[in-house]
């Protein structure tokens, strides 16, 4: 075989054997060159609305995934120079995470949070919390109420401008399937299977929107209703720091950015027993706010 698949020296050979998947975020894109059709299908499913037909804008880096005798060799970085061999079952997740990291590094000036993001009309809300607190399910319930989808996992925030950028990974939510769970058994909640969320393509947010509110989620299945209280700016900074996805954090800059955000945006702690109840509450609050603007 002529050419090197990791550098693309012979594009003809690479194109024949390694499907190129382009994932876009704002002015940047990542190229994933996959040598395994099943892996390609998994990645297409995971990135969903973020897929692009081709390279658009600035290339943030390349991921190369090549099956070998021990599993799948995944190379990442500017020239796919950093490689590791992973189990075939894990390879899609490895390539997925590496692609996201490349996009995050390309926009290191943004604040990156573990958060669901959705927008009502032209105002966005962040739903901050670790895995298992119901971000995806809450965002899915808001989509059912006509909200726009920005992300169910990653908040990409321009703190100085007070706006959030869409990072629309394919939304997925956990399904309970009648399993008995202790209300505080986060590990069990996290093990619940996830299913794709159906949504109309026009529901995807495409442009940054101002952040109108930040909710810190406390999933409390034993409670009988929504409990909400204002979070102080300092408390909000701590909560966001605890859900930071920053890769090589400059904590001083990050804290200053979060303080800037928390000082200008209403922040609330939201305890709730289920996503539909929480979504109804959040939706009513957003509608009321939009009517007073």
């Amino acid at each position: 075989m002529a050419g090197d698949p990791t550098t693309g020296d012979d594009r003809t050979v690479v194109d024949q054997r390694f499907e190129a998947i382009h994932v876009g975020f704002g002015p940047h894109h990542v190229v994933i060159r996959s040598g395994a059709p099943a892996l390609s299908e998994d990645l297409r499913g995971a990135f969903g609305p973020m897929l692009a037909d081709g390279p658009v804008g600035i290339e943030a880096g390349t991921i190369v995934a090549v099956p070998d005798a021990d599993g799948v060799r995944v190379g990442s970085g500017a020239d796919a120079a950093t490689t590791r061999v992973v189990d075939s079952d894990w390879a899609p997740r490895e390539a997925y995470h590496e692609a996201i990291k490349l996009l995050m590094r390309a926009r290191a000036e943004l604040v990156w949070l573990h958060a669901g993001v959705a927008a009502w009309q032209d105002q966005a809300c962040l739903f901050v919390g670790p895995s298992g607190q119901g971000k995806s399910t809450l965002v899915a319930a808001l989509l059912d109420r006509g909200w726009s989808y920005f992300s169910d996992e990653i908040g990409a925030i321009d703190a100085a401008a007070g706006c959030v950028h869409p990072f629309p990974l394919a939304p997925r939510r956990r399904v309970h399937e009648g399993a008995l769970l202790a209300q505080d058994d986060l590990a069990a909640i996290r093990r619940l299977p996830k299913v794709d969320v159906d949504f109309a393509p026009e529901a995807i947010g495409r442009e940054p929107r101002p952040v109108a509110g930040i909710y810190f989620l406390d999933f409390d299945p034993g409670s009988d209703g929504v409990r909400e209280r204002t979070a102080t700016p300092a408390e909000s900074v701590l909560a966001m720091l605890g859900n930071s996805l920053a890769l090589e954090p400059d904590r001083k800059r990050e804290i200053a950015s979060l303080a800037q955000l928390a000082g200008r945006v209403p922040c609330r702690r939201l305890a709730y027993p289920g996503a539909d109840i929480a979504a109804a509450w959040v939706h009513e609050a957003a509608v009321a706010t939009s009517q007073t603007r």
Binding site: T232, P233, A234, E235, V237, L241, K252, I255
Partner: protein
């Protein structure tokens, strides 16, 4: 007698009327209300625990012994979080 001082790499940021302090050594962040902040600001490496209690007590119009327990607890907590080195005892 040691004089408590801020750990060298602590990052702080004003958030309205509170101060957020982050200690890289422990990867912990904490928000300091007005009382905690007053104690924190006096932990500058020049004052002993007695001197810190004395200054705060004078400001509050109470005897230093009244504050000693709270000041000691706060400085101990700062030390646990990696925000302060030296305990002033």
């Amino acid at each position: 007698m040691q004089r408590p001082r801020h750990a060298a790499d602590v990052v702080t940021s004003e958030v309205l009327d509170e101060l957020v302090a982050y200690a890289p050594a422990s990867s912990q962040a904490v928000s300091l209300n007005a009382s905690a902040r007053a104690i924190w600001e006096l932990c500058d490496g020049t004052r002993t625990l007695d001197e810190i209690c004395g200054e705060l007590a004078e400001e509050a119009g109470v005897a230093p012994e009244v504050l000693r327990g709270d000041v000691t607890s706060a400085i101990d907590r700062f030390r646990e979080l990696g925000l302060v080195v030296g305990d002033g005892r």
